[in-house]
């Protein structure tokens, strides 16, 4: 096992074998593993060869050209009209003829400059719904078939604009918005980023939020912060996000420390981790799994192991030998995970689960070390409300708190800043507290018969 297998450095360059997340103009996401001399199909946004993007830095945006080729460009959406106009003007001035336009975006900008007028206000704009658009769906489909490769998007947008009865009645701002919408639909561009916990989460939120218990990026960030995740920690985790929480924790632990994952099945299912680039050896070193039965009743679950005599091993068929060694390794791993559980004293207890929290917490809390955070995510507030009520009488927990955090996105255009009309609902709640050791024989709080006023200042229930 080499040293590089046991550390994790975020890759900067797009390389063969790595995982990546592709963002399309529609904001749709796709997770891929890059394989040399294979191609990737982005549906209506085109197909391209992986070889064409290798060697570029992650974060790069490409435009799909003909013959599955790509060319690197600035960004997926051409942002403002002003910017576009300036560029085109200089090109026209320099050459005094129709400029050679290579990319789709340049063509669109040129088109906007030449053909399209805009209105100062929208008072002449009459909204008659779909009939303003004289180009029918059938015509668009035909265009898709007849126009070749890279020209598809351009041809469609060109036609759309020209056939849009009211387009020049729209204000510049709304023309811009219209174009942006059409670009999102028809441009053949994509941005390729490296897999990170945030991007994985975004992918699952869009694909099937129930897989990650509807957790928002802000809730994940808060959970990790409140849990005080750092390199070298020993954490006790219940994770029902398929390993997304584990991936986020591994990013913050930088290859050192230990995570004991307690799960409720015979085998854990960390499907998210298979989409990351954490070396398998590193995952094996940091993440140990154990089921609830093994965790809570290790005395009955320990497996005795005696090596078979060497002669017997020598006679085994190689396939059986492999099986024997795998079994031996499993037994040792599970036993050591159980020893770890018995040892307790974890540096943090992090739970993302649909199990009933009040009883789970009551049972598992003993294993958390002193002054260490307990951080629990729940999709719903009610189980956490019950948890907090229970915690107020549990002297092992200090400062139990329920947090809610919501990120409100804005339309981000200078001079026209406002919150977006709609945003994603849900996102979950986070419970936090600190594990403490109460004095065993109890203590008289200041205030009992000393000063009622002072008693009020203390928000902890006094111990009798």
């Amino acid at each position: 096992m080499s040293e590089t297998d046991l550390t994790y450095i975020k890759p900067k360059i797009i390389e063969n074998g790595l995982h990546a997340i592709i963002r399309m103009p529609s904001d749709g996401l796709k997770i891929v593993q890059l394989e040399k001399s294979k191609s990737i199909n982005l549906g209506k946004f085109g197909t391209f060869d992986v070889d064409g993007i290798l060697g570029f830095p992650f974060g790069q945006t490409f435009e799909v050209l003909d013959d599955r080729k790509v060319r690197p460009i600035g960004s997926t959406i051409y942002s403002t009209v002003d910017e576009a106009e300036n560029e085109i003007e200089t090109e026209i001035d320099n050459e005094n003829r129709t400029p050679v336009l290579e990319t789709l975006s340049e063509k669109i900008d040129y088109l906007k400059k030449l053909d399209i007028e805009s209105s100062d206000s929208n008072r002449n704009l009459i909204d008659i719904g779909n009939s303003t658009q004289s180009l029918s769906m059938d015509e668009i489909e035909t265009l898709k078939k007849t126009a070749s490769g890279v020209n598809v998007g351009e041809a469609i947008i060109d036609k759309l604009i020209k056939s849009h009865v009211n387009f020049n009645m729209k204000t510049k701002q709304s023309q811009e918005k219209y174009l942006r919408r059409k670009q999102q639909k028809f441009l053949r561009r994509f941005t390729i980023d490296h897999i990170s916990s945030s991007r994985l989460l975004q992918y699952y939120i869009e694909k099937d939020a129930s897989k990650v218990l509807d957790m928002s990026e802000e809730s994940l960030g808060l959970l990790l912060t409140l849990a005080n995740i750092q390199p070298g920690g020993r954490y006790l985790v219940v994770d029902e996000t398929g390993g997304l929480l584990l991936a986020a924790m591994m990013e913050r632990m930088g290859g050192s420390g230990e995570i004991l994952v307690v799960h409720e099945n015979e085998h854990p299912n960390h499907f998210v981790l298979t989409q990351t680039d954490f070396p398998q050896a590193l995952q094996d070193k940091m993440i140990k799994t154990i089921n609830l039965l093994q965790f809570f009743e290790p005395e009955n679950e320990k497996v005795e192991w005696t090596d078979l005599p060497q002669e017997e091993l020598d006679q085994m068929k190689s396939s059986r030998k492999v099986h024997y060694h795998r079994r031996k390794q499993n037994v040792f791993q599970t036993n050591s995970a159980m020893d770890n559980a018995i040892k307790g004293n974890f540096d943090g207890l992090i739970i993302v689960s649909t199990l009933y929290i009040p009883t789970l917490l009551d049972k598992i809390l003993e294993k958390a070390g002193g002054s260490r955070p307990v951080a629990i995510y729940s999709q719903f507030k009610e189980p956490l409300v019950e948890t907090q009520i229970q915690s107020l009488n549990d002297l092992r927990l200090l400062a139990p708190t329920i947090h809610e955090t919501r990120c409100r996105p804005y339309q981000t255009i200078p001079g026209r800043l406002h919150p977006l009309m709609s945003m994603r609902g849900g996102g979950g709640y986070v419970f936090s507290a600190l594990r403490v050791f109460p004095i065993e024989d109890g203590v008289q709080a200041v205030g009992r018969g000393i000063s009622r006023k002072k008693q009020k200042l203390d928000d902890r229930a006094p111990v009798e």
Partner: protein, 368 residues
């Protein structure tokens, strides 16, 4: 190393947070000769040494208690001396996650302010990364520097500079910053953005977050970001709330009706008793008018009234479904309760706008 790593037992010289209450924590450096005096009693440091972190301890007089905690960036945020408006945990945790700040990141922060976010960032980047923090206000710079020293964070991972970044940029002699995440909490971040190209990583995607309370600041920031080639610009606002779990009594409408019936029954019983009392004592109702009362004999009047009250008394009811007049503790087993939650009395409705933007590695343009 109080803020990085974990300790089980308290030793001489450790920084310990004495937890008195949610909003009241005292940072103390353990020195066996000293005593911590609080409104919950006196606590000798010598009694603290050797205790486990997380222990609850009794005051020297045998009553009153505190908890002994190992400091974390988040606890520090709650207890630190405010020199400026601070970045609270809902904002700081989101910024950290969205900018992809992890173990080993190289982060720029300006200004340092109360160093609340600095502690959180230092914890996350750890000694494998670096936090370059800049503060232009001399006294605040010195305070923050002293704190980083006391907290074992100075130089590794925190490098603090006294500097007006808007005027003089971010460059540090003989240090390649190569930062991948920038956080600007400045009155005019747009003046600092132009200095960034020299100090950001050129082979990785770089993220920036500008933290401004006014929308006019955001407007100027976006323009500056666009001008300097930042893309994917998006402004958001974080709304953090805390909920407090409570229990409210389940008061059934049928119980309220039953109580009214009970009141009515007892009222009728009282009237009946009075009627009989008057009849037995030959008192006519007309005699009871105030004009007729004999003002000369206050004593006998009072005596009579008392006698009347005693003889017509209705027995006290046992029926009290909602515990009226009693001091009922929330959650009392004799009553039914509904578990609810409520917001804090005062919520932070606006901290600041967060403007995010990203820049792809510049090697991409050279390869064109």
């Amino acid at each position: 190393m109080s803020f990085l790593g974990y300790k089980e037992y308290i030793e001489e010289g450790d920084l310990v947070l004495a937890y008195l209450g949610r909003e009241s924590m005292k940072p103390i450096i353990i020195n066996s000769k000293e005593t911590l005096n609080t409104r919950f009693g006196a606590f000798a440091h010598s009694d603290i040494v050797g205790k486990k972190y997380g222990s609850q301890i009794k005051g020297s007089k045998g009553y009153g208690f505190i908890h002994l905690l190992q400091p974390t960036a988040e606890l520090w945020t709650l207890s630190l001396p405010h020199r400026t408006q601070i970045v609270y945990t809902p904002d700081s945790s989101y910024i950290t996650q969205r900018l992809g700040i992890t173990c080993g990141s190289r982060v720029i922060e300006a200004g340092t302010g109360s160093a609340s976010f600095s502690h959180s960032l230092a914890r996350t980047v750890s000694t494998k990364g670096t936090l370059f923090t800049f503060e232009f206000h001399k006294p605040r710079y010195e305070e923050a520097k002293r704190e980083f020293e006391e907290h074992g964070l100075i130089n590794d991972p925190v490098i603090i500079n006294h500097r007006d970044v808007c005027k003089d940029g971010f460059e540090i002699p003989e240090v390649e910053l190569k930062s991948t995440a920038i956080f600007l909490d400045l009155p005019s971040p747009w003046e600092a953005i132009k200095h960034l190209p020299k100090v950001i990583s050129d082979d990785e995607k770089v993220g920036i977050c500008c933290f401004s309370p006014c929308i006019e600041q955001v407007d100027l920031t976006i323009k500056a970001l666009q001008e300097h080639g930042w893309t994917d610009i998006e402004m958001v606002e974080i709304q953090g709330r805390r909920w407090e779990a409570r229990q409210t009594m389940v008061r059934q409408v049928d119980d309220a009706i039953s109580r009214l019936k009970d009141v009515k029954t007892r009222k009728l019983e009282g009237i009946e008793k009075k009627r009989q009392y008057y009849a037995n004592n030959n008192i006519k109702v007309e005699d009871l008018t105030p004009e007729q009362s004999d003002s000369n004999d206050e004593g006998s009047k009072k005596r009579k009234l008392k006698e009347e009250q005693e003889q017509t008394k209705v027995t006290k009811t046992e029926f009290n479904p909602f515990g009226r007049g009693l001091r009922i503790k929330e959650g009392d087993e004799n009553y039914q309760w509904c578990k609810i939650s409520k917001n804090e009395a005062e919520v932070k409705s606006h901290t600041s706008y967060l403007t995010f933007a990203f820049k792809t590695a510049s090697t991409s343009t050279s390869s064109l």
